[in-house]
């Protein structure tokens, strides 16, 4: 490409000019231009040696820098004009001054402080979702979910997650008259609004837990450790408190929501992790202190209705604490001083209940046959 000799015209600067290629963002044609540097400005001259553009250095950056080539652009992201300058066409000092231009736009979002800010905001948003949003949403949702959904969830958890085969069930309120009458008494005492079923299962660990839709499970070691019917019923009343407050469903929704979201963030779309997490949480009945306190409060009313002192529950929980076998119940139902104080206070306030006397909910014959249910 021939370059017209630079004649001393008015538009020409005093500084030397250098060959460059301009792409004007309108066509793909490579336009031969000449550029020069005047103080902190880049001047662009077209083929007729007329000044075509004048850009201040603080409006320029170099998106591409190679050993032999620099591409210049202006700050405006909508402006696709580019000037390509070859190293062979410019003296060293000009090349060096071009290299002082920033490599990215000055208002670029790639600043380290912004990255850190984005990370902190992201982590805070995740924390807020897990600790506030999901629990709050779960607690609201638990009371509007159709009972059929709670029923199905209970079925699936009972079978696919607990891994309790029919062979492990010693007896249920559906086929055992003693358990059925016990379930009916509990249901009546709790206001009768929730379905209740009782199951004694043969698992090694002493535990009692409630699954969605009123399924209360008591393990064989816990039954063995109950010396009187009232002691067993006090534990059942506590579990009934969980049932009344839909704790199982609320916890399922919390754990399910959290692990589903976590699984999504990590790319697990099957939802299997969520179901397993729910199962583990419920199996351990890892209810929060808030749930335990709520269940205690509800159980006090049930126990009063049945004529059993809340102290029986307190003593039962405390006694279980001293037993080596009670790992399962201990870990998940920590007996704290304030729980004890609350139950003792409730017992004092109720003068209808005679301390130390049996409520006679189960006949001694029924109690004896219930104790042998797993044999």
């Amino acid at each position: 490409m021939q370059q017209s000799p630079i004649a001393p015209e008015k538009s020409l600067p005093e500084q030397p000019t250098f060959k460059a290629v301009l792409f004007d963002g309108v066509t793909a044609a490579a336009q031969r231009v000449r550029v020069s540097i005047e103080k902190d400005k880049l001047l662009v001259f077209n083929a007729k040696n007329e000044m075509a553009d004048k850009v201040s250095f603080n409006q320029l950056f170099r998106p591409i820098t190679k050993a032999d080539q620099i591409v210049l652009a202006v700050e405006d992201p909508q402006d696709d004009r580019r000037i390509t300058i070859e190293q062979v066409n410019v003296p060293t000092d000009v090349w060096t001054s071009l290299k002082t231009l920033p490599e990215a736009r000055r208002q670029s979002s790639g600043q380290p402080s912004r990255i850190i800010l984005a990370c902190v905001l992201f982590i805070l948003a995740c924390l807020a979702t897990f600790t506030v949003l999901i629990p709050a949403a779960s607690d609201r949702l638990a009371f509007i979910v159709p009972r059929s959904v709670e029923q199905t969830l209970g079925d699936r958890l009972e079978r696919t997650v607990l891994q309790v085969g029919p062979q492990n069930i010693c007896g249920s309120s559906s086929d055992n008259p003693d358990l059925r009458s016990l379930a009916e008494r509990l249901q009546a005492a709790s206001g009768g609004s929730e379905p209740v079923s009782l199951h004694i299962i043969d698992l090694p660990m002493a535990n009692a837990f409630a699954l969605p839709s009123g399924r209360i499970f008591v393990t064989r070691p816990l039954l063995d450790l109950s010396q009187t019917p009232d002691e067993l019923i006090s534990i059942l009343a506590h579990e009934m408190g969980h049932v009344q407050a839909h704790h199982a469903l609320r916890l399922s929704l919390r754990v399910g929501g959290s692990s589903a979201m976590l699984g999504f963030l990590l790319g697990d779309f099957t939802g299997s992790a969520a179901l397993i997490a729910i199962g583990q949480a419920l199996m351990g009945t890892a209810f929060s202190r808030e749930f335990e306190r709520e269940a205690d409060e509800l159980s006090v009313q049930i126990l009063q209705d049945l004529g059993i002192s809340p102290l029986v529950l307190a003593n039962m929980l405390e006694r279980l604490q001293g037993n080596d076998q009670q790992v399962g119940l201990l870990a998940t139902h920590p007996m704290t001083a304030d729980r004890r104080a609350f139950l003792a206070q409730a017992a004092l306030q109720d003068d209808k209940i005679m301390q130390g006397s049996e409520a006679q909910i189960l006949s001694s014959q029924s109690w004896n046959s219930l104790k042998l249910i797993c044999d």
């Binding site: 044609a29 490579a30 998106p63 591409i64 992201p77 390509t84 982590i123 959904v149």
Partner: protein, 423 residues
């Protein structure tokens, strides 16, 4: 003077790219994954700017914030969908498996939609000679096309797979513009089948054998069940487990491992020749007006890249696993008192060391994969390309402003943000 034919030249320093990858992966790990948006953008800028097309480098103008917006959009669309599917499946008593298959289908469809939109994102952020590329068409149409051809391709035991590849590439290419110049695509199936028949014949034989073996297992199975029983199984009465208990898992795994091994052998022997021919032919079939693209990509350059990558990976794995066995083995079976993991402190540091070991392996693999596979393939394919005549490019002008203003369309960057789009 512009040459009649101009070449694409990709040249870069492997060490520089490895440094970029290492730094990016470390920061990604330290920021729990947030830095990946910046990392992906930096990698793209590097790939693009080290690719000169007829003396002028490509420029990637995308910003990390585009990917972050795409990620939040993906979360906004997929999370409710996913949670909804989860809640629906909880409420279902029958057909849980069918519901899961439905969910997989929905996600497949969305992934195809996302891939198409991600291509548009990359094209609209690619600046060359002052103009941008663009992609029209519809992500939904592409996803439908991809799904229909997937069914046909599978039903034909893979024999019609090249037809699917050609059809999808034609849709993408014909909706691609550089400035105001639309691309055209006139591929024929002959060169694809000429280079690919041993591969697809091999795949078809393996597929037919697998189907035949499955039919045998099905017939020999003692339980009487049909596909509908499995899909609509009632979880409440344990039909589901009974049905699955009846399936001879060992036989199925045996058939699948033989088929998988045979597939790998066929892929290694006959795959490269097809893949190289496809890359070459698809490039040669593409033109922008009078400007034709020409590729000389060969089977041997593809094999060279993969061979080098696998060799480096094998060498790294040997050193990494060897050091791991020596270090953790020594830790576990040392002369120290039995039950070294009984101490809570020791156990804590043991698992910290194990976690760090895992992180080092993960980061090293990511660096090797980027530097020795993705970039080397980009370089090998890029360097095989040229185009002519070059002077016709000067006539191409910017697309209408309206179209340029619509750069930030719906769904762009979703697959990108989830890193499904590759480079």
């Amino acid at each position: 003077m512009e040459l009649e034919t101009a070449r694409v030249v990709v040249e870069a320093s492997t060490r520089e790219l490895a440094g970029l990858a290492l730094q990016g992966m470390l920061l990604t790990a330290l920021t729990l994954g947030i830095y990946r948006f910046w990392y992906v953008t930096r990698v793209r800028r590097y790939f693009w700017s080290h690719t000169r097309v007829g003396n002028y480098p490509l420029e990637f103008t995308g910003r990390p914030v585009d990917l972050i917006v795409g990620f939040f959009m993906a979360v906004a669309i997929l999370l409710p969908l996913y949670l909804g599917l989860f809640v629906v499946s909880l409420g279902l008593q029958n057909g849980v498996l069918a519901a899961n298959l439905g969910a997989v289908f929905v996600l497949w469809f969305l992934s195809q939609f996302g891939l198409y939109r991600a291509r548009n994102y990359r094209l609209t952020r690619t600046l060359w000679r002052g103009l941008r590329f663009r992609q029209g068409g519809s992500g939904i149409v592409y996803a439908l096309l991809s799904t229909i051809w997937l069914v046909i391709g599978l039903a034909s035991l893979g024999l019609l797979w090249p037809v699917r590849r050609k059809s999808l590439q034609a849709y993408k290419a014909r909706h691609t513009c550089f400035g105001n110049q639309k691309a055209s695509f006139d591929a024929s199936l002959t060169p694809l089948y000429r280079a690919g028949w041993p591969f697809f014949l091999g795949v078809a034989v393996i597929s037919a054998w697998t189907v035949w073996q499955f039919a045998n297992i099905w017939q020999a199975s003692p339980a009487e069940f049909g596909v509908l029983d499995v899909l609509g199984s009632d979880l409440r009465n344990m039909r589901f487990e009974e049905t699955f208990m009846a399936i001879p898992i060992a036989d199925i795994l045996w058939v699948l491992s033989i088929a998988g091994f045979a597939f790998l052998v066929v892929l290694a022997l006959a795959g490269p020749s097809y893949l190289a021919a496809e890359t070459r032919h698809f490039a040669n079939a593409t033109s922008f007006g009078t400007v034709r693209i020409n590729s000389t990509f060969t089977r041997s350059s593809l094999v060279a890249v993969w061979g080098r990558f696998l060799a480096i990976l094998a060498a790294f794995s040997a050193v990494y696993l060897g050091l791991g066995v020596v270090f953790f083995g020594a830790f576990l079976y040392s002369d120290m008192p039995v039950g070294i993991l009984d101490s809570a402190t020791t156990r804590f540091w043991f698992f910290v060391a194990l976690f760090l070991y895992y992180c080092v392996g993960f980061i090293a693999y990511a660096v090797i994969h980027l530097v020795h596979l993705r970039f080397q393939l980009w370089r090998a394919i890029g360097n095989s390309l040229s185009f002519s005549p070059t002077d016709a490019i000067s006539d191409i002008a910017v697309g209408s402003t309206d179209e340029l203003r619509r750069r930030d369309g719906f769904g762009e960057g979703i697959a990108d943000a989830l890193d499904a789009g590759g480079v």
